[in-house]
C-alpha cells in the first residue's frame, strides 16, 4: 500500500464550527417552516400550527447565535464583523474576476487574505439580513394582533425580502462549498494547503507553518482510484 502525505491548514476553530452549524440548522428550519406560509405546495406543513411553533423555536436559536459566538469566541465575532465591512482595492479586483471564479477558476484573481471579497459581501449581507429578518420577525411575533394591515404588510415584506436575500446567499454559499471542496473546513476545521494556496494565499502565508495551524496527514492511497475522479484526473491531465 502506498501512502501520501497532505498538509492541512486550520481554518475554523471548533467554536466557530459549532456556531456555524447551530446557525445553519436554525436557518434551514426557519426557511422550511417559513416557506410553508409562502409556497402553497408546502402549506400543509403549516396546518395545525406545528410549523409556527418550530419557526419560533428556531427563531430563538437563530437570534441567539451571535450571542453564542460572542460568548465562545469573541475575537472571532469581532474579526468577522470587521472583515465583513473592510474593503480594499484588491477586493474590487477580485470582484471583477468573480464571473471566472463562479465558473471554477481562481488563478486570474488577485491573491486573497483569510476572507475573499465574495465572502466579505456574503458575510456583510448575512449580517445585515440578520438584523432585518430578526427585527421584522420579532415585530410579527411580539406585535401579533396589534400590527394592523399596514404594519403587517411592511413587516412581512421586509421579512420575505430578507429571507430571499439570505436564501440566495445560502444557495451561493453551498455552491461554492461544493465547487471548491470547502466542506471539510466546517467539518474537520481544516482545509488542504492546496485549497488555501489557491483561494487564500495571503492568509496561508500569514500563518505559522506549525501545528495546530498546519498539520501533516499521512493517508493511504487507494489501490484503485475512485471511479469518477480517475477519468476526470485523466481528462484534466490529458
Amino acid at each position: 500500500m502506498a501512502f501520501r502525505t497532505t498538509r492541512w491548514v486550520l481554518r475554523y476553530r471548533p467554536s466557530q464550527r459549532l456556531v456555524h452549524w447551530v446557525h445553519a440548522i436554525a436557518f434551514f428550519v426557519l426557511l422550511l417552516t417559513g416557506l410553508a406560509l409562502i409556497w402553497p405546495p408546502l402549506s400543509f406543513l403549516a396546518a395545525g400550527g406545528l410549523s409556527r411553533l418550530l419557526h419560533r423555536a428556531a427563531a430563538v436559536v437563530f437570534l441567539l447565535t451571535p450571542v453564542l459566538y460572542a460568548l465562545l469566541d469573541f475575537g472571532g465575532l469581532r474579526d468577522l464583523v470587521r472583515d465583513s465591512f473592510t474593503y480594499t482595492r484588491e477586493d474590487l479586483e477580485w470582484l471583477k474576476g468573480f464571473p471566472g471564479y463562479f465558473l471554477g477558476r481562481t488563478s486570474h484573481l488577485p491573491p486573497q487574505g483569510r476572507i475573499n471579497a465574495g465572502q466579505k459581501i456574503h458575510h456583510a449581507l448575512t449580517i445585515l439580513s440578520y438584523f432585518t429578518i430578526s427585527g421584522s420577525g420579532l415585530i410579527l411575533w411580539l406585535g401579533k394582533g396589534s400590527l394592523g394591515p399596514t404594519g403587517l404588510l411592511i413587516a412581512t415584506s421586509i421579512h420575505d425580502l430578507s429571507m430571499a436575500i439570505m436564501a440566495v446567499l445560502t444557495v451561493g454559499h453551498i455552491y461554492f462549498t461544493f465547487v471548491y471542496d470547502a466542506l471539510p473546513a466546517m467539518t474537520t476545521g481544516y482545509v488542504t494547503e492546496e485549497y488555501a494556496r489557491m483561494e487564500h494565499p495571503l492568509w496561508l502565508a500569514s500563518l505559522p507553518s506549525e501545528p495546530p495551524y498546519v498539520i501533516e496527514v499521512r493517508e493511504a492511497i487507494p489501490e484503485t482510484p475512485e471511479e469518477h475522479i480517475a477519468p476526470l484526473e485523466k481528462e484534466a491531465a490529458g
Binding site: 403549516a46 410549523s51 409556527r52 465558473l103 488577485p110 425580502l161 465547487v179 484534466a236
Partner: protein, 256 residues
C-alpha cells in the same frame, strides 16, 4: 349556488344575544370563543339619545382581505360567504391583522370567526343565528333578494329613523352580510368606506419575486456546478501537475 347573503336589520335587533349563544352551541365553540358579538351604541346627551345594537361578526366581504392574506388557503370564498377550513389554518393571525372590521381572533392556535352555516343552508335550513333570533332581525337568502329587501326596509324606516340606510352593498366589493342601519355607519362604529389592502404588492410582488430569486439561483447554481466543478478540477490538477510554477503568471500581483 347563487351568491348568498344575510340580512341584519338593526331596527329590529333588541340586543338579546340569542344569536351569540345559538352560534356558540350549534357550532360547539370552545370556552371563550364566540363568532358573534353584539355591541351597544348610544349617542347623544340625556334626554336626546339615539342607540342601536350593532353586530360585530364576520361580514363576509366579497373582496375579503383575510382570504387574500391567508397563506394556507384556510380562508376561502364560496357562494358569497367567507369559509374556513380549520384543518388548514396555521394560526399565523394575518387575517386578524388585515380585517377592516377587526373580526377574526386566534383561539386555540387557529382562526376563530364565523365559518358560515353553509351546510345547514344546503340542507334547507337556516344558519343557527338566523333560526333562533326572537326579533326576526336576521334573514338569509340570495344576495340580490336580500339587498332589495334591505333597501325597501331602509326606505320604510326613514320616518322613524331619518338616517336609515343600507350598509354592505359596496363596501369591500360588497358584503355578504347586509345591514339595515338606523344611523350613519360612523355613528354606529362601522367604517363607512373600509379600504381594501394593497395586498398585491406583497402577495403578487414580493413573494413571487422572493421565491423566483431562490429558485432561479438554485437552478443557475445547479447548472453552473458541472461547469465550475470541471473547470476547478482542471485548474487544480493543472496547478498540481505544474507544481505551482506557472501560478504567478496568472495574475500580476500574485505572490508566492
Amino acid at each position: 349556488m347563487a351568491q348568498l347573503a344575510m340580512l341584519i336589520d338593526l331596527s329590529r335587533c333588541l340586543g338579546c344575544q340569542a344569536c351569540v349563544i345559538a352560534c356558540k352551541a350549534g357550532r360547539e365553540l370552545l370556552p371563550g370563543e364566540r363568532w358573534i358579538e353584539i355591541r351597544e351604541v348610544v349617542v347623544g346627551r340625556f334626554p336626546d339619545l339615539r342607540g342601536a345594537f350593532v353586530p360585530h361578526r364576520c361580514f363576509h366581504c366579497a373582496e375579503a382581505a383575510c382570504v387574500q392574506v391567508c397563506p394556507t388557503g384556510a380562508l376561502y370564498k364560496r357562494d358569497g360567504f367567507t369559509m374556513v377550513d380549520f384543518g388548514r389554518c396555521s394560526g399565523c393571525g394575518y387575517c386578524a391583522e388585515v380585517c377592516p372590521f377587526h373580526v377574526p381572533r386566534i383561539v386555540d392556535g387557529r382562526v376563530s370567526k364565523c365559518a358560515t352555516c353553509l351546510d345547514l343552508i344546503q340542507a334547507g335550513q337556516e344558519p343557527w343565528c338566523v333560526q333562533t333570533c326572537p326579533a326576526g332581525a336576521l334573514q338569509c337568502g340570495p344576495r340580490e333578494e336580500i339587498l332589495a329587501e334591505a333597501q325597501a326596509r331602509a326606505v320604510a324606516l326613514r320616518e322613524r329613523y331619518p338616517n336609515a340606510q343600507v350598509y354592505g352593498e359596496t363596501q369591500m366589493g360588497g358584503l355578504g352580510v347586509i345591514l339595515v342601519l338606523t344611523e350613519p355607519p360612523e355613528v354606529l362604529g362601522l367604517p363607512p368606506r373600509p379600504q381594501p389592502l394593497p395586498i398585491t404588492v406583497w402577495k403578487g410582488g414580493i413573494q413571487p419575486l422572493s421565491l423566483g430569486a431562490i429558485f432561479l439561483s438554485a437552478l443557475t447554481s445547479g447548472i453552473a456546478f458541472f461547469i465550475a466543478r470541471r473547470r476547478h478540477l482542471e485548474e487544480k490538477n493543472g496547478a498540481f501537475a505544474r507544481s505551482g510554477k506557472a501560478q504567478a503568471s496568472h495574475h500580476p500581483n500574485r505572490k508566492e
